[in-house]
């Protein structure tokens, strides 16, 4: 209980260095550019383009939906879940996107720090144990739906970032 403030301080310590070294405008610019990059990466994956948006896929409820994310904390939480899912996908392109998501989450933390707010550690998926079974049974569906929803979420975040989201 008493360790929490210390952990929080240690968590924020690296960001203290970055904030001093990198102007926040650059962080904002890099964040937007990285989001665009990930969106383009997903576009480049050919099989994600042919997915019809009219068809709803069931059974993949653990993948976050296209609900608007309003705060930096929600963004981080959403990205943490996507990152957790992507790490478990075998495609090579997806590994790069997962790395990009890690950078993006670090940037969000930096933005949050610049607003003097502390993002809690993203909890990720609690029911990820069942992800293995789903992946084994429907790898293609999982990849396509996850990437498609991630793309939508990122575009939403890009729009939100212009509105100076709260913590």
């Amino acid at each position: 209980m008493y360790w929490r403030p210390l952990w929080g301080f240690l968590w924020l310590w690296p960001y203290l260095f970055y904030i001093q070294a990198v102007p926040i405008q650059k962080v904002q610019s890099d964040t937007k550019t990285l989001i665009k990059t990930i969106v383009t990466r997903i576009n480049d994956i050919s099989h994600t383009q042919s997915v019809s948006s009219k068809q709803r896929v069931t059974g993949l409820d653990f993948i976050p939906g296209l609900h608007p994310v309003l705060t930096l904390s929600q963004m981080d939480q959403t990205l943490a879940i996507y990152q957790q899912i992507l790490i478990n996908l075998p495609s090579r392109n997806v590994i790069q996107i997962s790395n990009d998501l890690e950078n993006l989450r670090d940037l969000l933390h930096l933005l949050a720090f610049s607003k003097s707010c502390h993002l809690p550690l993203a909890s990720g998926l609690e029911t990820l144990e069942s992800l293995g079974d789903v992946l084994e049974a429907s790898l293609y569906s999982t990849e396509v739906v996850a990437l498609s929803r991630l793309q939508g979420s990122l575009q939403d975040m890009l729009w939100q970032l212009d509105l100076s989201p709260g913590c």
Partner: protein, 889 residues
Amino acid sequence: MICQKFCVVLLHWEFICVITAFNLSYPITPWRFKLSCMPPNSTYDYFLLPAGLSKNTSNLNGHYETAVEFNSSDTHFSNLSKTTFHCCFRSEQDRNCSLCADNIEGKTFVSTVNSSVFQQMGANWNIQCWLKGDLKLFICYVESLFKNPFKNYKHKVHLLYVLPEVLEDSPLVPQKGSFQMVHCNCSVHERCECLVPVPTAKLNDTLLMCLKITSGGVIFQSPLMSVQPINMVKPDPPLGLRMEITDDGNLKISWSSPPLVPFPLQYEVKYSENSTTVIREADKIVSATSLLVDGILPGSSYEVQVRGKRLDGPGIWSDWSTPHVFTTQDVIYFPPKILTSVGSNVSFHCIYKNENKIVSSKKIVWWMNLAEKIPQSQYDVVSDHVSKVTFFNLNETKPRGKFTYDAVYCCNEHECHHRYAELYVIDVNINISCETDGHLTKMTCRWSTNTIQSLAGSTLQLRYRRSSLYCFDIPSIHRISKPKDCYLQSDGFYECVFQPIFLLSGYTMWIRINHPLGSLDSPPTCVLPDSVVKPLPPSSVKAEIIKNIGLLKISWEKPVFPENNLQFQIRYGLSGKEIQWKMYDVYDAKSKSVSLPVPDLCAVYAVQVRCKRSDGLGLWSNWSNPAYTVVMDIKVPMRGPEFWRIINGDTMKKEKNVTLLLKPLMKNDSLCSVQRYVINHHTSCNGTWSEDVGNHTKFTFLWTEQAHTVTVLAINSIGASVANFNLTFSWPMSKVNIVQSLSAYPLNSSCVILSWILSPSDYKLMYFIIEWKNLNEDGEIKWLRISSSVKKYYIHDHFIPIEKYQFSLYPIFMEGVGKPKIINSFTQDNTEKHQNDAGLYVIVPVIISSSILLLGTLLISHQRMKKLFWEDVPNPKNCSWAQGLNFQK
């Protein structure tokens, strides 16, 4: 029969062991102890029973004893009296037989041939037991002592033991038949070795054993022994004993622990130092596998031995390792060799022994390469005998032949020992350059070792550490880092690939040079993959000359990545073998095309485009594949063709055939091609009409009227030329003469100057036509249109001096073609004058020179003739007969 007896004996012994096990067995805590057996009437001169223990009682107070009885009733042995021997254990140090126990039965069978000796003295054995270092064998050595009366008899030793797992069912009383027996190997030195295999899982369990010794026909049985094998481990001696002088000037004794020891060991180090001045011995116990000995002296020898024992819990010291001797040199450098990088500071220490005396550190001087004395300001006196020299801000070592180091000598004033320390200074400034590919998935880093001096035996390795975001201002080498595999390329560079990458993470990288003397790190550099992106070149590059506008239009598509704003660079030039490129920069990130003016609209241009982040970060992409323009009509022809005429037929007739000679339009004027020519005629009577002559450059028409005006138009796919030449054929105007004179001067065979003088006129002069032809040939006439303001003109053609040429100058008025001035040869007078002048300049000097020469020759000849003549005439003064003669006469 014998076998039956042996089996009976064995069973009996086992029975004894089983029975003994009811009592408490002898716990082997010391690894070396004694087994003593004595007759009952003995006074225990060696083995004093503890107080209160009767000789024929047993199983009291935890004392351990068995009895050996000589049974005379045995049919195979005769002359035996029945005697009971009490066997007991005692430690080596303990003279009292405090560990005796009586056999519960008190008697057993034993027979002997002659028992009189041991009936008087008893029998003694030394026993050593331990678990071997590999934890697989339990070993017991049984050795008869010098006082053993049966020493002259052949030994037979057996060891009976109970495996722990057998005891598990009945832990207190081993069942009969549960004992196993091993035969012990006895050597001629009265030493028997008994080996008991111990399963690894049972190392912590209790092992019960007893010994059966047959000597001199008598069989002795030991009390029961109990032992926990794990507590009796005797490791193998330590291995790899070595000594070296540390960089601090201490003697480091190090060794390796024996293999297969599952627990940490402690070590006992025994060493002695022998020098001319000091002899010392020491014995130290350490838990590490090394020991530092300070105060090392030059010219001394050190002898060391090490042994090991379990660190925690009971155990047995191993045997001592083989002695190892190390002798120090008369001059000790520490460190003896230093590998360091350029710009660093290093120090050497030295102790110098000269003629059995250690040189005072104040007298020590230092030399480099035996060539230069190191300034005393760099010396330090560490102690009475230790001198130190420090080098500051070191420069790279320059190899001298095969020697890649500087030799540092510690000298006694004017005398240097031949031994030296080695100093290797390497420039480790290795530049690492990285580039992220256009897909933003791979970062390739390259580095070369060409800049650094290669050091034999060294290996290079790129190490890196990734930060979560960005680079710190000053990159530093972190304690925790990862190696990266790099591969040597054909160009001598090492190449390392990071894939996938973290675009916005800082990769701090450096090269580690590993060498037996140590490792050096190059200055670290931090690379952010996002800032070293080399984009893919722009795609869909197109080039065309825009119709009607006449600009070179270049268009392209930006690459997919990066998402940052990009600037573009265009290069374009006339297509050919060696293209002279012109550059054009486009800073507008949204631009997808640009239009540029080019001098030649009808040429093929090659165009390439490349891009780079407009914020200055990253690298230029490669140039795109070249795009080429296609030559096509851009505009209507700039003008119509120049043309002249040849009038055929009788000049006095009214109707004449006029042949028009058209000069074909070049691309620059036609923009860029001519499909056909059209001739517009205009006469006062017939009005205006046109004739299409196609691509022909000659056209003949009939001139019938007083004035006939023709205009020639050039037509391409865009339209007809707007600016055109026209020519009016007019009878009246053909008589207007404004050219007073015309002169033609040949400069050489390829150029003739034509000059003329005009007289004033009321007509508006448009231009002149110069016409010339070789009169000796029937070649076509040649003509030129020149401006009306020109008064002389250089005609470039191939002129043959001996041929005759006709030159004509036609004034062309708005109203028509005027009267020409015609000359049929080059202008002579001036030419001859020039020739005469030239002759004069040459001949006159020749004549003058010849005259002077001739005059001189005559004068010299005259003088010589005169001399010759007078030599033949006798001198009247010397010759008598000549006196009185007048020779002049």
